[in-house]
Amino acid sequence: MSLTRNRFYSFLIMSCVAGYAWLWYASTTASSTTVCLSKKITRIPCPSCGTTRSVAALFHGQFTAALYWNPLGLVVFLILLISPCWLLWDTLKRRQSLWNSYLQAEKILRKKSVAIPLIILVLANWIWNICKHL
């Protein structure tokens, strides 16, 4: 299975729907259900544990709480907000600007000068997550 333009768009729609459904589900149930394989098996939280709580906090406007739960939530929040609008724009205009930007972003992320600082940031966030006992 290789990622083509149409596959990418359908995949993005699916993940956006899944993301909002998951947010809705997590907000309606009081108990914190975890689906993280890492946390279930090893009891060690993964780098992105707490993202749901972070995004939920952002939707309620609690910026500092969101940063405390997981700074990566900010990235997910932006993707969740922007990508449906961008998708709609592309469909209406019959363009593929989102696909092109995705490929461009992949290229930039592969550069060592960008990748290494990001890896260090994610690792630091991971250590913070473990210390917070998420």
Partner: protein
């Protein structure tokens, strides 16, 4: 290109591709110019079995996707705890063919 060289390439690198792609690769290599041989040999191919092992142990962090060169999907997998755990499990079964497909795409840049 020399048939012996092509067969040697297929023998040593066959496991990196899907079996139905082999015939096509062989045909293209046979009709190719000799001076591209060095380039063809230096294409960085990823081992599907290594990808599977990475996927089983580090799949929920997206490392398997980074390994085969799907950086964007890797980031997506990392940010969502392995797609809420579902994508991580799906990829245990999917990653080997994804690796072979990715290898084929890499080789194709030189074949055409």
């Amino acid at each position: 290109m020399d048939a012996q060289k092509v067969d040697m390439f297929i023998m040593s690198n066959g496991k990196y591709f899907e079996s139905h792609q082999i015939a096509q690769i062989r045909e293209r290599l046979m009709s190719m110019d000799e001076n591209k041989w060095v380039m063809i040999q230096s294409v960085p191919l990823k081992d599907p079995q290594t990808a599977l092992i990475i996927s089983i142990f580090l799949g929920s962090y997206g490392i398997d996707r980074f390994y085969i060169g799907d950086t964007g999907l890797g980031v997506g997998k990392l940010l969502t705890c392995g797609g809420l755990g579902i994508w991580a499990i799906v990829d245990w079964f999917n990653i080997q063919s994804a690796t072979r497909q990715k290898n084929f795409e890499k080789l194709q840049q030189f074949l055409y």
